[in-house]
């Protein structure tokens, strides 16, 4: 079996000296890192630390004030996101990337059926056979543990946990290579979170996905990610293997974060 870590000797995404200023406020300062195929990176820190701003720059939704983000396109060439044409950007957003929002209502169309929510991404990449689209949507609902009898119901009739799983199915159906997740378990009950985390962990490893997960929850980082970056005041203050950073935190702020969790 080919392994993502071996196949991925070339970086998938490279961030170089990324900064973002809002007037005199520096939301992100001089952030650099490399993400390899199949690697899951967690960005942790409290509200206002710059995590979401960073995620938006990495996913080409926000232009950095300085620095750049490069991404290896499927042809193997590493390209500056800023230099991409409209068609290439669309390809990334519709196919090669996924984006899981904290609030599923932002990532789903709440009034159309679950099947259509999943099928829409396939139609956007040129699928046009109704039966095949429906079969694929149905098998994805099963994969995210949604009863296929609910395929024609709109997500506004779904519970919070089901909506989040539907959002994940919608994102993964086009077989992206990179998924951005912004607080994917935020706002869910603890029991629902555990199920969702387990599901995401399995999907990420089965599909050999690379992912960048923004979370303030260290348990999410521990369960999902290989590496972690700790942010404070717009800067990365500590980075390393997830278990190194969480079991042997060096920076005062990381020690505070880690010591603030209740023991399991």
């Amino acid at each position: 079996m080919a392994d993502a870590q071996d196949a991925g000797d070339q970086p998938l995404l490279v961030a170089e000296n990324l900064s973002k200023n809002y007037g005199r406020l520096a939301a992100c300062r001089d952030i650099s890192f490399t993400l390899y195929p199949g690697e899951v990176l967690a960005i942790v820190g409290e509200s206002g630390s710059g995590k979401t701003t960073l995620l938006q720059m990495l996913s080409a939704q926000l232009a950095p004030t300085s620095g750049r983000v490069s991404y290896r396109m499927r042809d193997g060439v590493l390209r500056d996101l800023n230099s991409l044409g409209e068609a290439e950007r669309r390809f990334l957003f519709r196919t090669d990337w996924g984006y899981v929002h904290q609030d599923p209502a932002q990532g789903l169309r709440m009034a159309v059926s679950a099947g259509a929510n999943v099928g829409e991404r396939l139609m956007a990449v040129g699928w046009n056979h109704y039966g095949r689209i429906r079969d694929t949507a149905s098998s994805w609902l099963e994969r995210v543990e949604i009863d296929t009898a609910r395929i024609d119901d709109a997500p506004r009739t779904y519970s919070g946990g089901m909506r989040q799983r539907l959002q994940i199915a919608r994102n993964l159906v086009t077989e992206p290579r990179l998924v951005f997740m912004d607080e994917p378990t935020g706002g869910l009950d603890v029991s629902v979170q555990a199920r969702l985390l387990d599901l995401m962990r399995n999907l990420v490893s089965e599909l050999r996905l690379a992912a960048i997960v923004v979370t303030h929850d260290l348990a999410v980082a521990r369960l999902l990610s290989h590496r972690v970056m700790v942010m404070k005041g717009g800067q990365v203050i500590e980075t390393g293997l997830t278990d190194q950073v969480l079991d042997d935190p060096h920076e005062p702020y990381t020690q505070l974060l880690v010591s603030s969790i209740l023991p399991p």
Partner: protein
């Protein structure tokens, strides 16, 4: 024969920023080697740094100085300075770690918890499960429990599940942190037998064991950790 583990002058301390920056020295001048087929037991009283050394070898604790040489892919790699992705490769292909406690993922059945390390290295799922079943049987975990997640098991049962998970793969280095701590005599014997099998297969092991009898049975050499005491 080249050493599988070669530790040179490794050093570790903790700085507790929340306690006014108190610096806690743990170990200093750690030097020892482990060869293939050999089990080195770390000895010393609690708090001497035995578990810390094991975690440094696994790349879980970062060293302040020195080298943690690990034979990986035919060459000695310094884990103290390795990139995160290299540490992950070493853990996937070279070093296994059996801790005292099982860190189980909710909802995953015992059989899959045990089979997982084989599956991630590419073994077919069915064969991995069969092997997992054999180990669980050897460790006296009744078959009716295999489909349940281990989170509700007793301490001793969880530890045996953890041992099965740690021993299933064919990794050339195994780190054992009190693998027999809460086991009864019969299961202690089983674990001693599993360690013997690993030795015959050429696995290099570093172990912490408090039970004198078990230590006598498995240790090829003993490293006294108090000699690495790092006086402040």
């Amino acid at each position: 024969m080249p050493a599988m583990i070669k530790i040179v002058n490794a050093e570790k301390s903790f700085t507790m920023h929340l306690q006014g920056g108190v610096r806690l020295p743990v170990v200093r001048g750690v030097n020892f080697e482990v060869n293939a087929g050999e089990c080195v037991v770390l000895s010393g009283p609690s708090g001497a740094g035995k578990s810390s050394i094991l975690k440094m070898i696994f790349g879980n604790y970062r060293c302040d100085g020195g080298r943690i040489g690990i034979r990986h892919d035919g060459a000695l790699l310094d884990l103290a300075k390795a990139e995160p992705r290299d540490v992950l490769r070493v853990r996937r292909d070279t070093i296994g770690y059996v801790s005292q406690f099982l860190r189980a993922v909710p909802r995953v059945p015992t059989l899959d918890v045990v089979a997982e390390p084989l599956i991630v290295t590419g073994a077919p799922r069915e064969r991995a499960r069969e092997q997992a079943g054999n180990l669980l049987r050897t460790l006296n975990i009744p078959e009716r429990l295999w489909t349940l997640p281990p989170s509700t098991f007793s301490g001793g049962e969880q530890q045996r599940v953890n041992i099965a998970r740690g021993f299933i793969s064919d990794l050339p280095i195994l780190l054992l942190d009190e693998p027999t701590a809460s086991l009864d005599a019969r299961n202690r014997e089983v674990v001693v037998g599993l360690i013997d099998d690993k030795k015959r297969a050429g696995v290099a092991m570093v172990a912490i064991v408090h039970d004198d009898e078990v230590r006598r049975l498995i240790a090829d050499s003993v490293v006294d950790v108090t000699s690495f005491a790092a006086a402040a």
